[in-house]
């Protein structure tokens, strides 16, 4: 083989970066998460490419944390690397407000915008204007093993409390036979352990901030909730829970090792899939556990597709995201992977489809989890932020990762919960002060 001149190679690389569309066809660069549904989209999008010979799709599939880093640095610096990005309910309204995303208008008549679930749509809008289209949406629900419950003569209520869950976990925990009482997220991250912990805190009547942006981490509600979580998971959980996130727990549950699991409703189609799960027909579904309140005890999250303002192919990108979130796409998934695999939680029509409801055991509990979550009033006491398991403020990324890291340490037994919460309270307040939520004397609310 002829050896390439390094300058030549460098120029070619530059050419690839700058003008891959020089070949005639428009290339759309899509950044997305490595979750099951998106991986499916990547394979099904060949159909889209066949219908649109002038469009080529270039995929970048990354894990959630890495994707978020890449997208955030690209979009905040106006890098323009991506034409289509996968973002969540946290980013969409903030980035829309900053004009980093293209406002979505002029839908094709077949798209039927009004079919999108109102709760989900609201999460992705700023002042009534959509900035991203929902790909799938999830609440959190309780998964449990009907066979193990039956063997012990237990029955899961439709609306369990955390105390009941603890009781079940105690009875079902049998590590000698490879079954753990409960699996929960313990891996650090604002989108990992903090999602489940925040809903637990909400259920115990706590909140992240009071009306004046004063952090509430050192309150009795937080101490109760976090101590409960650490005790429950370290006593009746699988070994080493501090390294388990959504995907790790899904693997454990599918391998039949968890008697219960509280997590995103989107796992429903995976735990009931015969190809992936060892227990596909032994899974029951209930609402996410409540405690003193059920307000904010189930989270609401939407993965959505958006077009950055820095994209040079806005029209083509908008057309693609309409296709990927359309009813037709849902049908395409149903054809290839079975009707239960349709992207859940985004369209009202999915839940009026008799066949879907009949063949999907988790359909109704999913719909209820999504419809009852209220991001505008997530907690028992009033809060100044929106979002159930996160606060839609730019600082939350920093706060959530930091507190999440500390709490995963407490879960692994490296420090005490009470100490961690006390330290976190101070650290969160510092971050908020730095971002200007309090005035010079530390009095809240002065600058906003």
């Amino acid at each position: 083989m002829k050896r390439m001149n390094p300058i030549h190679t460098a120029l070619m690389g530059l050419g690839l970066l700058l003008g891959a569309d020089a070949a005639g066809a428009a290339t759309l660069t899509i950044g997305t998460v490595n979750n099951g549904d998106m991986v499916r989209m990547q394979s099904l999008a060949k159909a889209y490419e066949e219908q649109h010979p002038d469009v080529r799709l270039h995929w970048l599939v990354l894990d959630e944390n890495t994707l978020r880093q890449r997208l955030t640095t690209d979009i905040t610096t106006g890098g323009g690397q991506f034409d289509i990005i996968t973002i969540g309910a946290y980013e969409a309204p903030m980035w829309g407000r900053q004009n980093w995303l293209m406002p979505l208008e002029g839908f094709s008549p077949r798209y039927d915008v009004d079919d999108l679930m109102p709760n989900v749509r609201k999460q992705l809008s700023v002042e009534g204007r959509l900035y991203a289209l929902p790909f799938y949406s999830e609440g959190s629900i309780t998964y449990y093993r009907t066979d193990l419950f039956a063997a012990k003569g237990l029955s899961m209520p439709a609306e369990p409390t955390w105390t009941e869950i603890r009781g079940f976990a105690e009875k079902l925990h049998d590590p000698a036979r490879g079954v753990y009482g409960i699996c929960l997220r313990g891996k650090a991250g604002w989108g990992e352990n903090m999602a489940i912990i925040t809903t637990l805190v909400n259920a115990f009547g706590g909140r992240w901030f009071d009306e004046k942006w004063e952090p509430q981490l050192d309150t009795p509600e937080w101490h109760q909730a976090v101590n409960f979580y650490v005790d429950l998971l370290s006593t009746f959980g699988p070994p080493g829970p501090s390294s388990n996130g959504f995907n790790e727990n899904l693997t454990l549950f599918n391998a039949g090792k968890c008697a219960m699991w509280v997590d995103a409703s989107v796992a429903g189609s995976f735990v009931t899939d015969k190809a992936q799960s060892l227990v596909p027909d032994k899974v029951g579904f209930a609402k996410a556990p409540r405690a003193v309140t059920d307000k904010g005890s189930s989270w609401l999250w939407t993965w959505a597709l958006a077009v950055p303002s820095s994209s040079r192919q806005k029209e083509a990108a908008f057309e693609f995201i309409q296709w990927a979130t359309s009813k037709e796409y849902g049908q395409l998934v149903a054809q290839h992977h079975g009707i239960s695999a349709m992207p859940p939680g985004t369209r009202l029509s999915t839940y009026t489809n008799g066949e879907y409801l009949q063949k999907t055991p988790f359909a109704l509990v999913t719909r209820e989890a999504i419809q009852t979550a209220n991001p505008d009033s997530p907690t028992l006491e009033p809060v100044p932020y929106t979002g159930v398991q996160f606060a839609t403020i730019p600082e939350f990324q920093a706060i959530g990762s930091m507190v999440g890291r500390q709490l995963s340490g407490a879960l692994a037994g490296f420090s005490r919960v009470d100490k961690v919460l006390h330290t976190s309270q101070g650290a969160v307040r510092r971050t908020m002060k730095r971002a200007g939520y309090y005035d010079q004397n530390g009095v809240p609310g002065a600058q906003r």
Binding site: N65, Q69, T72, T73, T76, T77, M94, Q98, K187, A188, P239, G240, P241, S242, S243, P394, Q397, A398, S401, M402, R405, Q406, S408, G409, A410, L411, A412, F414, S415, V420, T423, S424, G426, A427, R430, R434, A435, G436
Partner: protein, 293 residues
């Protein structure tokens, strides 16, 4: 002679100037930019709110809850790996220095881990060796009837230290083996004739001979070990809690998990100062043995 040399050296300096300026800019521009950013409140998510804040980023970084732990972890990591690599490096080198069949192959195998990329070796250790369910260690433990160790949650820093030591031990062996080959064999044979035990030979001949290579290994490794990042990123992600967060990892969390460019720049400068402190300290301590030995 003097007069003749002067103009040519000036010409030499002139011709070298562009290269030196280039190198200077190469070094100074990033440093100045870091200095500048370290005085700004600059959060990537808040583009409109960048402003001058003086030294606030530094106080913020110093009072960050993970800061002290990260310094302790950095020093623990560097210190333990140095001790492991030097002690085992010397012992193994002395062992493979004696003639035996297959010596070449054994030496090559001993040195090869050094050429594996840190990310790759971290992944191998994480998934094939230390995994509590499917790893080799777990299998061995179960074979003898013990409960497998949950390495990355129960002994996170130790696990990182083992991985990094495994990567750097070959470097120490490489240096020590090379240096042992230059050892005076006649002196050794004379000592043996006088009835010196192998331990005495090791204590009074080999170790003094290795003093200088040990100093080199300690210096070179310290500089690289202060920057360990890939191993932590791929295995524990700095956790659980702050258990494996070292200074580079803390700076990474500021910059890329919290998007706080200001605090990350301040942290970067702190790391530069720390690295320099360590370097000065080592030069004082070891540099002397390099010149006097």
């Amino acid at each position: 002679m003097r007069e003749a040399a002067e103009p040519s050296s000036r010409a030499g300096r002139l011709t070298a100037a562009p290269a030196i300026l280039m190198l200077f800019a190469w070094m100074i521009v990033p440093l100045v930019m870091t200095l500048y950013f370290s005085t700004q409140y600059y959060n990537l998510l808040y583009p409109g709110r960048t402003k001058f804040v003086g030294l606030e980023n530094f106080t913020y970084f110093f009072t960050y809850p993970s800061f002290l732990t990260s310094i302790v972890n950095t020093l623990l990591l560097v210190g333990s790996v140095l001790v492991i690599t030097v002690v085992f490096g010397v012992l193994i080198s002395v062992l493979v220095d004696a003639k035996f069949p297959g010596q070449g192959i054994v030496r090559m195998l001993l040195i090869s881990p050094f050429f594996i990329m840190p990310t790759v070796s971290a992944l191998v250790w994480k998934n094939l060796l230390m995994n509590p369910v499917s790893g080799l260690f777990a299998w061995v433990f179960q074979l003898v009837g013990l409960t497998p160790i949950n390495w990355f949650s129960d002994w996170p820093l130790l696990s990182i230290i083992l991985i990094v030591a495994w990567e750097w031990l070959p470097f120490a062996i490489l240096i020590f083996v090379t240096s042992l080959q230059s050892m005076d064999q006649e002196q050794k044979e004379a000592a043996q004739m006088d009835g010196a035990t192998p331990v005495a030979i090791f204590r009074h001949l080999t170790l003094p001979h290795l003093a200088r290579p040990i100093a080199v290994v300690v210096m070179v490794e310290s500089i690289f070990l202060l920057n360990v990042f890939a191993e932590i990123f791929t295995t524990t992600g700095g956790g659980p809690g702050d258990a494996t967060t070292n200074l580079p990892f803390l700076i990474f969390t500021q910059a890329l998990l919290e998007f706080d460019v200001g605090a990350a720049s301040a942290g970067g400068l702190v790391a530069v100062v720390l690295a320099n402190l360590v370097a000065v300290f080592l030069l004082r301590l070891i540099g002397k043995s390099l010149t006097h030995a």
